[in-house]
Amino acid sequence: MDDPFVIAGVELGSRLILGTGGAPSLQVVDETLAASGTAMCTVAMRRVDAGTSGSILEVLDRHGVRVLPNTAGCRTAREAVRTAQLAREALETDWVKLEVVADERTLLPDPVELLDAAAELVGLGFTVLPYTNDDPVLARRLQQVGCAAVMPLGSPIGTGLGIRNPDNIELIVSEARVPVILDAGIGTASDAALALELGCDGVLLASAVTRAQHPARMAEAMAAAVHAGRLARRAGRIPRRHHAQASSPTEGMAVL
């Protein structure tokens, strides 16, 4: 593969990372995995007796997809670190999608708790992929404490509003020494393509696929969009011009 996607020394076969939340059934998860060609999916960690089913892991296994546990629902560094530790014991992976949100209404990351949790988890030997806001300074600090990637939001989780501030994403990319993965806010394929065009190395999305009217079809759309956006980034787009420029010759017109 002439354009590998590598996180913490591990090459992933796809730049599209899927969240499995929101899918109406494991059958739908199964179909979306097949359609998306993804190589890594997130899962949440919850009490065994909360009417949950462990068989999401079987679905991921069947597709040979890497599992990325998240710390969704955690509000403090303490909770997040313990949740990551539980995930490591349960899933035997030291990779974690670190989420520490400030409240249930906005689901926005708490910058202080997030940074504390990231530093502690790195110290505990985790490979930390933090879900963060689009602040370039926080992204920089997360790298300084040793995160393996930074995952800025395009817009709040589940909103489908796309990338609200492309300038910030471009700024994060321009400074990044680790992969940048656009996480949260993707609503449709063009949003995903734009993320890659802005220089993101990958996209992580859940609701846009799992809650679409036809999840598997949208999963296929997202896979194509990520491919398109990456190629476009590498193809060197034409500059934006304020005046028109003809694409047909201006000489050699017949006199009619």
Partner: protein, 66 residues
């Protein structure tokens, strides 16, 4: 004796170890993990980790999540 498992009291035989509890609650050891009184117990210690009356045990597993 009685331990609190995921917020509900549960009777367990004296000398019950964590691996037995996890197996009983989760059906298998694979894909699950546990914390006792707020501290995560490494998988390797489950077999020999004795439970004590009144302890708070959290047993978790992976579910669909974003």
């Amino acid at each position: 004796m009685t331990v609190d498992v995921n917020g509900s009291p549960r009777n367990v035989p004296p000398g019950c170890t964590l691996d037995a509890l996890i197996a009983a609650v989760a059906g298998s050891l694979r894909g699950s993990a546990a914390a006792v009184d707020g501290e995560v117990v490494p998988r390797g210690e489950w077999e020999h980790f004795p439970l004590a009356d009144g302890q708070q045990v959290e047993i978790i597993t992976a579910v669909q999540g974003g």
